[in-house]
Amino acid sequence: MKKKKYWFKIDNAGKVFPAISNDNRTNTFRLSMTLVNEINKDVLEQAVQMILPRFEAFAVKIQNGIFWQYFSENHRAYRVEKEGSILNKYVHPRNNKGYLFKVYYYDNRITLETFHALSDGFGSLSFLISIVYQYLILLGNKMDSEGMILGIKPIQPKENEDSFLVNYDKNMIKKMTEENAFHFKGELFDYGFSHLFSLKLSLVELKKVAKEKYNSTITEFFASTLCYCIMRQNADFYKQKKPLKLFIPINLRPFFDSITLRNFSLYLKTVFNPEDHLLDFNAIIKSVKNQFKDQVDKNVLKSRISGYVSLEKAWWLRFLPAFIKNLAFKIGYDILGTKINTASFSNLGYVKLPKDMQKHIKDVNFVIGGFGIGIGSIGYQNNINLNFTSRIKDVSLFKSVSDFFTSEGITVNAISNYREAYDELL
């Protein structure tokens, strides 16, 4: 049932983001749907306003409490905006009517950019699908939801739960230490610009290579490709003597019977040491599969969840005033946070839409931001989009990956947001 007044504690994964985010470290990610026809701004705005109250996890603004920041209800009318050229811009909590997500339109594309404190890819995808479904209905299309559209289902309290807290077990706490990882270095683009290099790959061709040739899942294949290419193309890697760590967020909902729309993911990590840089692709994919197998285990995941939540539950931390906590998060993240991973790769999986909706949607895309290089992938119909975003002026990883796919017989189609004139501008 819809409520007028509600509030949430920020979930365990999201707590740190409001403190550490700024124009340079935006912690936002982007989901977009490309439609067949051009977007009607007014109808889209109406669709968002109709759907938003159903998604309480999104209809919030951030508030400062004495001990913690929290989310409280936000009933202000949402305004959509025309998309700009900077991807994954920082959603300032005091702008945008207090909302922590942005809905953009451009040509025939609807884009949702979400601040990570609010939700993860799963929650945002449900929200975007519901917005687009409502948009198509408002345009007069007759649609059968086939039970796949969350926006037209009744609200369930479990959608807004903090599943980290629900699955916390104080007897299973795992202490976590992370050593520093190898980092990409290079000059950054000005004005917060991120270079997007999007590869559109055929699902049939990919399956043929990943499943038939290497007997792996697509996530394992992509992770292995990225590790292989980073190690091969980057001479700095074996000079730096730091391991390559690729962080791969995993959706925890299927493991813990959760339907929350808020953050509920943990990262898996694939680690390779500098002496592994001469490994061939078969050895790398074997290692990645083993590392996945070791980490994708309910008990291992639960002990990691408990480890994170135990930090939040420490009495000394709970009683620290919020502004001191925020300062500590900021300093801690500056010292440690950015050093522990080389890159992040997030695979949101294959998007299934109702048949009536599919004929209006040409493409679905998922782009993650990041201070260095971020890689996101998503599948829809016969394709998988593998999107690289980089704030660094360097395309060697993109080239290395696309060369690898070509050598494996996979056709590479690309889209880039970079223009020749940007050499001077950025």
Partner: protein, 218 residues
């Protein structure tokens, strides 16, 4: 669609050269669709605000330093307050924030201004007997009017009002410590704030407790 012969990539976006190898693309003369808006530099107002704030802060520092040569603070306080007001006004105009947040700042600065001006006049009794209770009372009234008229943020406003009501009890405490001689303004402020606290706890108890629960969740 344009094609890079060297990288074997089909480009769907509007490129003339391959992003990866800089080679000229085949069929690149064909007008492709623009997938992303072209980047244009925007003139940012942030550096101007920073510069403006810097000038004002320097003005405060210099005037206080000049004033301190006579071992007293007089005109520099007025200059400083004016500079602070200028900074606050500039930030209110150029930073898009919630107006209640702006209002709280204005109230706070007004209160400090009044107190400082009366201190400059070296009228401590005037400050404690009249200025402090009357400004607190006036601001309490202002908050109360906002609370009654603004129905969209009742939870936040109820807690602000309660906190400010409690703060308005301060002159009474000073009176008990014999620092305040004229009792009438202090008494009016005290009874007004007390009745407001009772009013809030009687009629808006649920809102206040909800706000407290949100604020103090540990």
């Amino acid at each position: 669609m344009s094609y890079c012969n060297q990288c074997k990539i089909n480009y769907h976006s509007n490129q003339k050269k391959c992003v990866l190898c800089q080679q000229k693309l085949m069929n690149s003369s064909l007008k492709e669709k623009e997938y992303f808006p072209f980047f244009r530099k925007k003139v940012s107002i942030k550096p101007f605000i920073k510069y403006f704030n810097y000038i004002n802060l320097m003005s405060i520092l210099i005037s206080i330093l000049i004033d301190l040569q006579d071992l007293s603070l007089s005109f520099s306080l007025i200059v400083s307050i004016s500079n602070l007001y200028a900074i606050a006004l500039a930030s209110f105009i150029f930073r898009r924030e919630f107006w209640t947040f702006k209002l709280s700042k204005i109230i706070l600065i007004s209160l400090l201004t009044l107190l400082l001006i009366t201190l400059i006049l070296q009228q401590t009794n005037l400050v404690l007997d009249f200025v402090l209770p009357i400004t607190l009372l006036a601001n309490l009234l202002l908050f109360f009017i906002i609370f009654i008229t603004r129905k969209d943020k009742p939870i936040d406003m109820s807690l602000h009002l309660l906190a400010f009501s409690i703060f308005t009890l301060l002159p009474k405490l000073l009176q008990q410590l014999s620092l305040i001689k004229v009792t009438l303004p202090t008494d009016i402020a005290f009874y007004s704030s007390l009745s407001l606290i009772i009013y809030l706890l009687l009629f808006y108890r649920r809102l206040v407790f909800e706000a407290l629960r949100r604020q103090f969740h540990i």
